[in-house]
């Protein structure tokens, strides 16, 4: 289900203009939507809510990642977007240890 939502939002991102607006759909909660639906149904709403707490921290890390990716793509091209993933791990781990552990 996660893959289907990802493709759906990717398609929306390819048809809307301009580019910055299309970029919004690259950060759509596609995987979260599918995963939370399955989790709420199979393990209960309580577990899904705990997931959303982690997701909130992950979203902040995602915003930082995007900012880093802008700079990294400018300097490194293709590899920049991959190298910048390190910033997501650093921020996500920091927020988890500070607030969610």
């Amino acid at each position: 289900v996660g893959g289907v939502f990802v493709v759906l939002f990717a398609l929306i991102g390819t048809v809307v203009q301009p580019k910055r607006f299309a970029g919004i759909f690259a950060a759509a909660p596609s995987i979260a939507l599918a995963s939370l639906l399955v989790t709420a149904g199979s393990k209960g709403v309580g577990v899904a809510r705990m997931n959303t707490l982690g997701m909130a921290a992950g979203s902040v890390a995602m915003a930082v990642y995007c900012g880093c990716a802008v700079a990294a793509v400018r300097r490194l091209g293709t590899w920049g977007s991959i190298v910048a993933v390190g910033s997501w791990f650093a921020v996500a781990a920091g927020l988890y240890l500070l607030f969610l552990r």
Binding site: T14, A26, A27, S30, M55, M62
Partner: protein, 139 residues
């Protein structure tokens, strides 16, 4: 006066997307959804939740855009993704608040509406503050 591209829909983009690109994104989506589930089982739901906002699709998407349309387009796409990420934070908050009160599909549908509303509003503000394509444009 700055010249901004109008907001709109170009259905020709679907043809440009290509089956291979979409398949790649589908596979990334499936892998991350499974990884989030496994992390939840092993380390708890909060840590698993982190991966619901993992930039799995973004690196692949940015790479494809950078290769096909250049660094400038990739920069704009990443700038939009910053806005989408802020919207994603509000999705998580809305889902946290709505899940105990409503049926899960309805709660998540409403949280998705919150994501869309917040993201579009932030985009419109960013467009006004920093016109896309202007020299000040940092995205």
């Amino acid at each position: 006066m700055s010249r901004q591209q109008r907001m709109g829909v170009n259905l020709g983009g679907v043809k440009e997307a290509g089956f291979r690109d979409l398949l790649l994104r589908f596979i990334f989506g499936v892998v991350v959804a499974i990884a989030a589930g496994l992390v939840s089982l092993r380390f708890g739901a909060r840590m698993g939740g982190l991966f619901l906002a993992f930039p799995a699709i973004l690196p692949a998407g940015l790479t494809l855009i950078e290769q096909k349309e250049g660094k400038e387009a990739a920069r704009h796409d990443a700038g939009g993704a910053v806005i989408g990420s802020a919207g994603m934070l509000t999705f998580a908050i809305a889902a946290y608040l709505l899940l105990p009160a409503l049926a899960a599909p309805l709660a998540l549908a409403l949280a998705l509406l919150v994501w869309i509303a917040v993201s579009v509003a932030l985009y419109l503000v960013s467009r006004r503050l920093v016109p896309e394509g202007s020299r000040k444009d940092p995205s």
